[in-house]
Amino acid sequence: MKDFNKDKFNESISRKFAGAEVQPGNNVWEGIEAELLKQDNKRMQKKTAFYRNVAAAVIFVALISIYFNLQDLTFTSTEDSTFAPVNIDSQNDQKFVSDNDVLLKRPDIFTDSEDGSIGPERMGNENKGLAAFNNTEEENFKSEKIQNSEEIFYRYSDRELMASIAKAESIVPSDFALTKLDIQVEKVSYFAVSTLDKPKEGSNISWNTNVNIGSGNFNPNSEITETPFFSTASTLNNAGTAARTVGDNTSFNGNQERTAVEDLSSAPMKGNTSFTFGLNFGVVLNEKWNIKSGLQYGAFRSSSSSSTVLRDRNSDELYPFHGASSLPEISDGRVINFTSEYELYNDLQILTIPLMVSYKIIDRKFDVSVVAGLSADFIIRNNIKAGSDQINEINFDVKDRKSYNDLFASSIAGVEISYPFADKYAISLMPTYKRALSNVTTDAATFDSTPAFMGLNMSLAYMF
């Protein structure tokens, strides 16, 4: 700022305003803070987007590398069981074999003689010659004359062999034929080295604890087959009335009741969050096959809507009208009333004994197996609750045989992705689909139900 506008008037004005202070309203800072918060959120979102993109790129690269790594490279011998000289330039012919298999790798055959010939006397400890070694035998360097003086096999340690490869020249005598060792050649994996680090598959038995979270449609209203109408006992009332019809008024009452049941049956059903947890034990049959069983406890939840209640004529209490409202219930002094729509919740508690078989299809750092099996399911408890304080809940326990069978069978299918670690442990994720094999309701029930459950099973296994 300049101060040479030397006018008395201006000076006095300037002096007057110099130290002037006026308190702003509180809303000013609130507005500033809100805007700063907005800017902070924008910055956070940008950061989040950046990290998300980085994570996506990493996952993408990992998937691509896994895909390419799944392409096996194989090593094959020639038809006449002799090794043809390998052109060192053809790198694709040089393979590695996993442990316990013979490494039939052709090293670089080279010579320092002028005519290119190789004689045993020229071969020494400087790593020249055909090397074949078996990791199960000692890895020290040896020289051994196996057949005639022209054919010499050396056993090298891994390091020396690698060193010899590094020193190799690019010339291979074209007429140099080597006799194959009498050792079976097997297909190998590019990840052969990594298999050395895998936990020993010595244990055949494993325990795992697991928890399964998903969504189920164990709902008694899913497939109502007939109305609970019983002409001489049932009464239909409209909401707010207590009129009762007796006698054979099946046509009118039946229509209304049928409507109520149809509405109930056609109400959209929502699978709420369900979970199971339990213990399984497994037996490894071989590298690929695994069988397991155990005990699971599950709480299966679903919901739908209803606009019908059962009213107890004696106590005037209301109960949810649902597909499990069987004949005795209706005839036992309870009448049907129409109400405004309310939420209907069904919680089933089930004990399950599964028997599952898994087949490993991918055996790498992550194992992938397909799983299939059956389970025996015992209904422990069935609770039907309305989303209204005015309507009582209904509980069916083990002793209640009105609507559900005690025991039913289900089929299970899933894909298990597991990751072994720390030699004896493995964690796994297994999306599963489970479905009852048949109707789970009794003959007395007025509905059919073949419940299904879809979830994600997470487990931690310990292998003995």
């Binding site: 700022m1 008037f9 007057k16 002037a20 202070e21 000013v28």
Partner: protein, 182 residues
Amino acid sequence: MPRTKELIKGCQNGDRKSQYELYQQFSSGMMAVALRYSKSTLEAEDILQEGFIKIFENIKKFRGDSSIGYWIKRIIINTALNHQRSKLYLYPMVDVEDIKEGVNSLSVDTLAVEDLMDLVQDLPTGCQVIFNLYAVEGYQHKEIAEMLEISVGTSKSQYARARKILIEQIEKQNKWGNERFQ
């Protein structure tokens, strides 16, 4: 002042507490500045709010070449000018020499700040801005012309007009004040 330096550093790091403290330290003075450039308290608060948001957005660029108070004031004034830019009414040119310096400092000194503020706020918008820039902040007409993208002549005429109006208003107020005491 070490405390101010800490505050500035905190604001540069986005620390809300430091930002609030800085705001508290300078808000009342800057509100007075904003009032001089606006027509109402509401408008002044808008200018203040917008100004401080810009201050916190750009405080990382503050290098300490000038005092923080001066830097903040510049931002508030620029914000006020942006607000007023579209409202600059252009008055006919008036020859500066025609304006007489008839008012002595005494008559202005007797006025309360609030009253003087009201008089300045009552000026037409174009005059108000240029008067503040010239008489209070001390800018030259050339600088004002560049800032407001007007001609130097317009700046001079607007200032002259503002001064004339203010003097007339102050004389009126002084006259009323004298008459009351009599």
